[in-house]
């Protein structure tokens, strides 16, 4: 499920697979706070991750369409005061359920990883050094 690729952004810190895996809960989580549209969602992702997490912009849309097909979000076109139309996405009940389930899974993973970091804390710099080199 490589929905979000690396694209041409060189600043990428998080690996492609991890970006792809976290994309759905992130989008659903942002939409859970209220209706939004593609560009605003991307901006929020960028802000929340402090610019560390950047997606290839265009690829957000196939993901949104996929979530719509699965029934997790609904979309409507609104006309902006400027006359341009903009597509807004809203989370559905099904989407909230999916978000809750994904959140549980991520919590499990993060908790487990935290446990591991805690026990192997002293090794971290070595691994980091190896990865960077």
């Amino acid at each position: 499920m490589v929905l979000l690729g690396v694209g041409g952004v060189s600043k990428m810190r998080v690996t492609k697979d991890l970006v792809a895996a976290s994309a759905t809960p992130m989008v659903l989580g942002i939409l859970a706070k209220g209706e939004s549209y593609g560009y605003a969602i991307l901006k929020q992702v960028s802000e929340l991750s402090g610019g560390e997490l950047e997606w290839t912009d265009g690829l957000l849309y196939p993901l949104l369409h996929r979530l719509e097909r699965l029934g997790y979000v609904e979309s409507t076109w609104h006309t902006a005061p400027s006359g341009r139309r903009r597509k807004y996405y809203r989370i559905t009940e099904q989407g909230r359920a999916e978000l809750a389930s994904q959140r549980q899974q991520w919590t499990t993973v993060v908790d487990a990883l935290k446990g591991i970091w805690h026990t192997t804390g002293s090794l971290r710099p070595v691994i980091a050094g190896r990865l960077e080199g």
């Binding site: 560009y39 290839t56 912009d57 265009g58 690829l59 993901l63 369409h65 341009r84 139309r85």
Partner: protein, 458 residues
């Protein structure tokens, strides 16, 4: 001034980018709009941060990702879009002006279909059954179902009143030809009228199809293309209708109700009449959506027919057997020529006029020449017998058709040979075929109107 130029520049750049997006079949118009909105938001933010519009545009496009990747992801999510769908009512881009016109088109189509269905059923109320008074329907069927089709095109093409008058006049002439002569039910001329009037009237529909612009060779070729696609759709609808008929009869039989009467007098005649207009509407609606089928079939069958005809010729020459000239043999070989002509016509209809001659053109030439050779053999065999049999309407009609087709194919073969030897362009071949439509029309009308009195309504 610089800022205005910059804006203008930006607009044209965005328009260009949008046109690239539009070419991707997996990305629909609305998706393009959504992506453009994103692009504009990004450009707006970057220019607000101090970038020049063209720089902002470049950055925004770069961040959007490559179009290839984008369209691949869209295709992965919307794999159905690679199968071009014929949308029945309203386009996917809701709210565009196309929706209103396609809706009224649907309405007029429904009205014309209803008219065709009613036209087929109304004579029953006046005592003309499908079985007992068979020749009424045999003679008049095309007169009943084709005027609604012509009306549909007359509406769709906004045909001038003058042309409408011509159409009405020609249909009236057809009605006279089919019904004014004192033809017996078992007369040969009745059968000939039943066969030739549909052709004559189909070409009248052609006049409506080309909106009265029947002198234009290109428009005539459009009508030829339409005819091919219409036939394909009609056959497909007929196959579906066959299944529906079978299911209807079978299921009602299971509960002890005999539905065959309903099927015979309602389902089949109404379905067949309605399908005439519906098939035409489908062709109109989908002509830019789906690949034309008739030329594809032509591609498949041209080599096969060529092989069979050549094998037949070799067999005739090898065994030195004279072709068994039965009375019906002319009809058979007329049919053969019609098939060859159809293959030729639909290959021509799909050919790029400026493309250089290809191997397929040579194959076409081989097909035409072998058909001609066989037909000449048949005509030679038959020539002596014609005097012996005496002339009847059937023979005159069959022989006349044969001569007409022979003349067409002989000249086509000549033009093909010129084309292959780079002596002439492709256009004369196309013009020859489209021009020849007038000959078919003249012949069909002659058989309907002139032949019966010539043979004392035999």
């Amino acid at each position: 001034m610089v800022a205005i130029d910059g804006d203008k520049d930006l607009e044209s750049q965005i328009a260009e980018w949008r046109s690239y997006v539009r070419r991707r079949s997996a990305v629909h118009e609305v998706d393009g709009e959504e992506l453009e909105d994103h692009l504009r938001s990004m450009v707006g933010e970057l220019t607000a941060a101090g970038l020049r519009p063209d720089e902002a545009f470049l950055v925004a496009v770069k961040r959007m990702g490559s179009l290839d990747e984008l369209s691949r992801e869209f295709a992965r999510e919307h794999s159905d879009r690679l199968w071009k769908q014929l949308v029945l009512a309203g386009s996917p881009d809701a709210g565009t002006p196309a929706t209103a016109s396609s809706r009224s088109d649907l309405l007029v189509m429904a009205l014309c279909t209803a008219a065709a269905v009613a036209a087929v059923k109304i004579p029953v109320a006046f005592g003309y059954g499908f079985d007992d008074e068979g020749t009424f329907y045999a003679r008049n069927l095309s007169l009943l179902v084709l005027p609604p089709l012509a009306a549909y095109f007359a509406w769709r093409r906004r045909v001038r009143p003058g042309v409408v008058a011509v159409l009405a006049l020609l249909f009236a002439l057809g009605a006279v030809g089919a019904n004014a002569y004192p033809l017996g039910d078992d007369a040969q001329s009745t059968v000939l009228t039943a066969l030739h009037l549909p052709l004559a009237l189909w070409l009248v529909v052609g006049v409506a199809y080309v909106a009265g612009d029947w002198r234009s060779s290109r428009r005539r070729m459009d009508f030829v293309r339409f005819t091919g696609e219409w036939s394909v759709y009609y056959v497909l609808i007929a196959l579906g209708g066959g299944v529906l008929t079978g299911v209807t009869v079978g299921t009602f039989q299971a509960i002890g109700i005999d539905a065959s009467n309903f099927v015979e007098s309602w389902l089949v005649p109404c379905g067949a009449a309605g399908a005439v207009v519906v098939a035409a509407w489908l062709v109109e609606a989908k002509q830019s959506v789906i690949e034309n089928m008739a030329p594809v079939l032509t591609r498949v069958f041209t080599p096969l027919f060529t092989a069979v005809l050549l094998a037949f010729l070799v067999a005739v020459l090898w065994t030195r057997t004279a072709i068994d000239v039965e009375r019906d043999v002319l009809i058979l070989f007329d049919l053969l020529l019609v098939v060859v002509l159809g293959l030729l016509l639909y290959a021509i209809s799909a050919r790029d006029p400026v493309a250089p001659p290809t191997i397929f053109d040579r194959l076409q030439l081989a097909l035409v020449v072998s058909a001609l050779a066989i037909d000449v053999l048949v005509l030679l065999e038959i020539a002596g017998r014609i005097a012996e049999w005496g002339s009847t309407p059937n023979k005159v009609a069959a022989l006349g058709l044969n001569v007409i087709l022979l003349a067409n194919l002989a000249w086509s073969a000549w033009l093909f040979a010129q084309l292959i030897r780079h002596r002439a362009p492709f256009t004369p071949l196309e013009r020859w075929q489209t021009g020849y439509l007038a000959v078919y029309a003249a012949w069909a009308w002659a058989v309907v109107l002139v032949l019966p009195p010539l043979f004392d309504f035999a």
